[in-house]
Amino acid sequence: MAELATSQHDELASAESRSWHLHHRRKITLWGIAFVLPTIIFFAVFKYGPMLWAIELSFHSYDMISAPRYVGLDNYRALIADPIFRSTLFNTLIYISCTTTLLTVIGLMLALAINTGIPGARHCMTAMFLSNLMPVIAVCLVWRILLHPYGVVNQLLQHVGFGRIDWLTSEWTAMPSIIMVTVWRFAPYFMVVFLAALLALPDDYYEAAEIDGAGPIRRFFHITLPLLMPTIFFVVVVSALLCARVFLYPYLITGGGPGNATRVLSMLIYETGFSYLKMGQAAAISVVLFAIMLVFTSLQITLFTRSERIYF
């Protein structure tokens, strides 16, 4: 703790007290390390250990029963040659990009709507946030039935003149449906993130803009949006990370179907590993997913470590 030893202290310090300070400082440093140590050990064992293991495993053929056998790049070659993997990778990327875009746009719009100061808006916010707290498993069970061809969603849409839509069983609407359910669950969370950012915006910009006679739309694009850029960046990165690991929504709602329309990489990892007993191949898919997530994580880290803001 270099900051601890202020110049004032130094002037007064005798040689004796300086050595005491040195000792004291070292002790404080040790405390700091002690605070972080459990976490480091934990992450080494349960995050980096498995990651390194997965990387190693991806060069082996392993059915969990006989010993792993080194196969070089065979698992990766098999992946590239596998049309199911390719279409699953494509699905995952589509899911990440669409969901992230929608979550950002809808989250921001909801936050702007709440921030209008309409009486009762606060209660609306709390009510919306409940969707973010409902257990995922319940979310999936409920939406699977709501999106049935004759289900509630189609019944409601019928009132506004829509015909029958096979939400979960048509290859064109199945992925959008999964995306919709994800947005339903997470948009309120990002709404809160945006809302916090909006509340933290300095008022004086707006006062100045009002004096200049700028309309609400101009104000939004010229003041609010630029000031919100770091938050938008945060939301994009966090939701991308959230989406890259998606498993339960497609697993429980569509089972990856119809055809391969909603299968995502994490599902393929699970099936390849535990259903086909190809642990090496599953590990290779994990490595691909690491690579995708690494892109977003590095973006996130640059943001996080540079900023002093609280993100949640």
Binding site: W184, L241, I301, Y311
Partner: protein
């Protein structure tokens, strides 16, 4: 919202103009209510179906309000499988994970926010990078690690990979970073120990962040499905998501009773939110909201 062109727009008579803001607010409120309804609808549907007769769940026209309220669905559903046990297991797992996250994320967050030691910035990087290693992706090797510890079919096995989450550490670090160093130094000069400083000076200032962390870590471990499915193979340790999915496979079970379990599973999270709500709102940075 449309941009209003002043040229071909005649201002409303003064009497109407007086009501214009009120009118706009009313329309805004109406829109907001519609939006909220969209988010609440599935929850309400779930609740209503849990009281509905078994054969009413799949109908061409949904009967939103039961003509006959079947309260007996609740005891019936609970009697079909040891759900009390499943919920207890989920509760144990979630509370443990919540506590360890609160404790260790606070410690690590403090260590990273207010201490500088060789390698501390690299450590921060390494900790944040674990966000790219979710359980869904490292399922196979994590399972092998837990197996090495001989924790298959134990509570330790279920909670082990969930104990600390990088996001929580980051949340705590950010909420502590702005606390002035003078506070800490002054306390040190007064002879306070490091743990006392953390507990008495730092912690009271980041309680809102802590409640955000608490509710999210509770919710996330309450939601765990894939991991317990992989690591548990004895009925006594099943958590409710496993029980709920299995429930649908037993062919005698009416689907409405599945909704009962879903409703019961939702209550604890909502309850925790209700208890922590004020603090959570503060933690979210929403105190300024009117």
């Amino acid at each position: 919202m449309a941009v209003i062109d002043e040229t071909d727009w005649t201002p409303p008579p003064p009497s109407l103009r007086r009501y214009l803001p009120t009118l706009r607010r009313l329309i805004g409120l109406l829109l907001l209510i519609v939006l909220t309804a969209m988010f609440l609808l599935p929850i309400v549907w779930m609740l209503m179906m849990s009281f509905q007769a078994g054969e009413k769940m799949f109908q061409l026209r949904t009967e939103w309000i039961p003509t006959v309220w079947h309260f007996e669905n609740y005891p019936n559903a609970l009697s079909r499988a040891p759900f009390a046990q499943y919920f207890l297991n989920s509760g144990i797992v979630s509370v443990v994970v919540m506590i360890t996250n609160v404790v260790f994320c606070t410690l690590a967050g403090y260590g990273l926010a207010k201490f500088r030691f060789p390698g501390s910035s690299v450590l921060l990087l390494l900790i944040l990078s674990t966000m790219m290693l979710p359980l869904e992706v490292t399922l196979v090797p994590t399972f092998l690690v837990v197996h090495k510890f001989d924790w298959i079919n134990t509570y330790q096995g279920i909670v082990a990979p969930l104990l600390i989450d990088a996001f929580g550490i980051f949340l705590m670090r950010q909420s502590m970073i702005s606390i002035p160093k003078d506070f800490i130094e002054a306390a040190r000069i007064d002879g306070a120990g490091e743990l006392r400083i953390l507990l008495q000076i730092i912690l009271p200032q980041c309680l809102p962040a802590l409640s955000v962390l608490a509710i999210f870590s509770f919710r996330d471990s309450w939601d765990q499905f894939l991991w317990p499915l992989t690591v548990v193979s004895v009925d006594e340790l099943r958590t409710f998501p496993l029980g709920l999915v299995q429930f649908g496979e037993d062919y005698g079970n009416p689907p409405t009773e599945q909704m009962v379990i879903a409703v019961l599973a939702t209550i604890p999270v909502f309850l925790l939110f209700a208890i922590l709500q004020r603090s959570v709102n503060k933690g979210f940075g929403l105190s300024g909201l009117k």
